[in-house]
């Protein structure tokens, strides 16, 4: 199950585990093709050139494999799509719920991963 976005996708929990263990900076947006999620995918797509040191991925929220995001302690209070998680050296550095604008996303990227 993959989302029809131009981003690279994470399809399985194992795949996500592998990426966050191999890459220093990873941002994963876990959502659906809904109005709160699509703008976040669009912003991520645009930031890819600017933040070459960050791996940008999406993941389908309704995939059973997305338990790896849905069940994170950092997401336990989340009640709005998408769940967006920022991993630094394999650990959750930040997580947000619901739509975020470009400034909100870049401020987390800059803070956690550097410019």
């Amino acid at each position: 199950m993959v989302l029809p976005t131009p981003l690279k996708h994470v399809e399985t929990a194992d795949e996500l585990t592998k990426i966050i263990s191999e890459k220093e900076n990873v941002m994963v947006c876990c959502g659906r093709m809904g109005p709160m999620c699509i703008p976040v995918y669009g912003i991520m797509e645009e930031l890819q050139d600017e933040y070459e040191h960050v791996e940008f991925r999406d993941m389908a929220f309704d995939s059973p494999e997305a338990h790896i995001i849905r069940n994170l302690p950092e997401c336990s209070s989340f009640m709005g799509l998408p769940f967006t998680v920022y991993y630094k050296n394999g650990k959750v550095a930040a997580a947000t719920s619901s739509i975020q604008n470009r400034e909100q996303i870049t401020s987390i990227l800059d803070k956690e991963f550097g410019k």
């Binding site: 659906r32 093709m33 809904g34 109005p35 709160m36 999620c37 699509i38 703008p39 669009g42 912003i43 645009e46 930031l47 050139d49 336990s76 209070s77 989340f78 009640m79 709005g80 799509l81 947000t96 719920s97 619901s98 739509i99 604008n101 470009r102």
Partner: protein, 332 residues
């Protein structure tokens, strides 16, 4: 025209680029203006602080766009963007405007990244954004109990008690839609009557799960890591009541994205919407406006498309008059 964004950025670091028209905003009004202008061979740039589509991209399903039975807001946005690009329209998204000079004959603007542009005409199509209540806790609990999209987040509230804030069509319709999930929906509105269509109100009133609380406003959102309750003021008695619940959906309309125009030469009304004449020209010659940022009653994708067309055709006339004047001056 510039083949890609990188080339345009590289060029703009060197000098200000001149366009026949610069459109600020890439929602349906801005994209339509871009399609018309670039198809008429006017050198056109669309700037947007976010991504192309505006409020349209937040619409799950559009079922009243003539000629298209059903389409997602994302798909319609993308179609318009591709169409504008195909005609040669340049686009820059994710920008912020640092400086403007619209009063001179040649309009100029500078972005916060230092890049500068000039133009013979400007079209302000900056659109609107969901209005927030502004009560304490609203920002903290976004995505942790507060939502602005029923279709996105409704299923998080299965068998839970929620509130819907607002009294227009969206609030009434979404309150009904949310009863598919929630055990109880309290519909809170500040006035003593609803502003939505009669049939929408009747449907909400007939639904057993919906409890209506008029003459009321939320004064605070309360909780720790997630929303636990809201404090509501009765506007007639000023009595404060805490309502324990799991979620709140807010649908209280839109406000114009005109912050960067406040205190400048462009005339705004008391709601900070742009005032124009019947050509959709503002009080400044050569500066036009279109879409949801306009002072007007109806805000639909179709009305934005109409505004974008009218503004573009009048901007085109303005551009051609300027070119003709310049040619005559050169000849004499």
């Amino acid at each position: 025209m510039y083949k890609n964004r990188r080339q345009l950025i590289h060029k703009t670091t060197m000098e200000a680029i001149h366009y026949d028209s610069i459109i600020i905003g890439a929602g349906p009004a801005g994209l339509t203006a871009g399609i018309y202008l670039s198809r008429a061979k006017a050198k056109t740039l669309i700037l947007d602080s976010g991504i192309a589509g505006g409020q349209m991209i937040l619409t799950h399903e559009i079922a009243n766009y003539p000629g298209i039975e059903s389409i997602s807001g994302y798909e319609l946005s993308n179609n318009m963007r591709v169409q504008a690009r195909k005609f040669g329209c340049d686009m820059l998204s994710g920008i912020s405007i640092a400086q403007i000079d619209f009063e001179s004959e040649v309009k100029s603007l500078k972005l916060s990244n230092g890049k500068s542009f000039t133009a013979d005409s400007i079209i302000l199509a900056t659109g609107g954004r969901s209005r927030m209540i502004g009560a304490p806790g609203e920002t903290n609990f976004k995505g942790r109990g507060i939502s602005y999209c029923a279709t996105c987040d409704g299923d998080f509230f299965q068998d839970k008690e929620i509130a819907v804030i607002g009294g227009g069509n969206t609030a009434l319709e979404e309150a009904v839609a949310l009863t598919k999930y929630a055990s109880k929906v309290t519909l809170i509105h500040q006035f003593d009557h609803f502003q939505g269509f009669k049939h929408a109100e009747e449907e909400a009133r007939a639904n057993e799960k919906i409890h209506i609380q008029l003459n009321s406003r939320v004064v605070s959102f309360n909780g720790n890591d997630k929303l636990k309750s809201i404090t509501v003021e009765n506007l007639l008695t000023h009595e404060l009541t805490d309502i324990e619940l799991d979620g709140v959906f807010i649908f209280i309309g839109y406000e114009a994205n005109t912050d960067f125009l406040q205190g400048r030469c462009i005339r705004l009304n008391e709601r900070q919407e742009i005032v124009t004449d019947d050509k959709l020209q503002t009080n400044v010659q050569g500066v036009f406006a279109a879409g949801d940022a306009l002072a007007k009653r109806f805000r639909q994708i179709t009305t934005a498309v109409s505004d974008g067309t009218i503004a573009a055709l009048n901007a085109l006339e303005h551009i051609n008059q300027r070119k003709q004047k310049a040619a005559e001056a050169k000849a004499s």
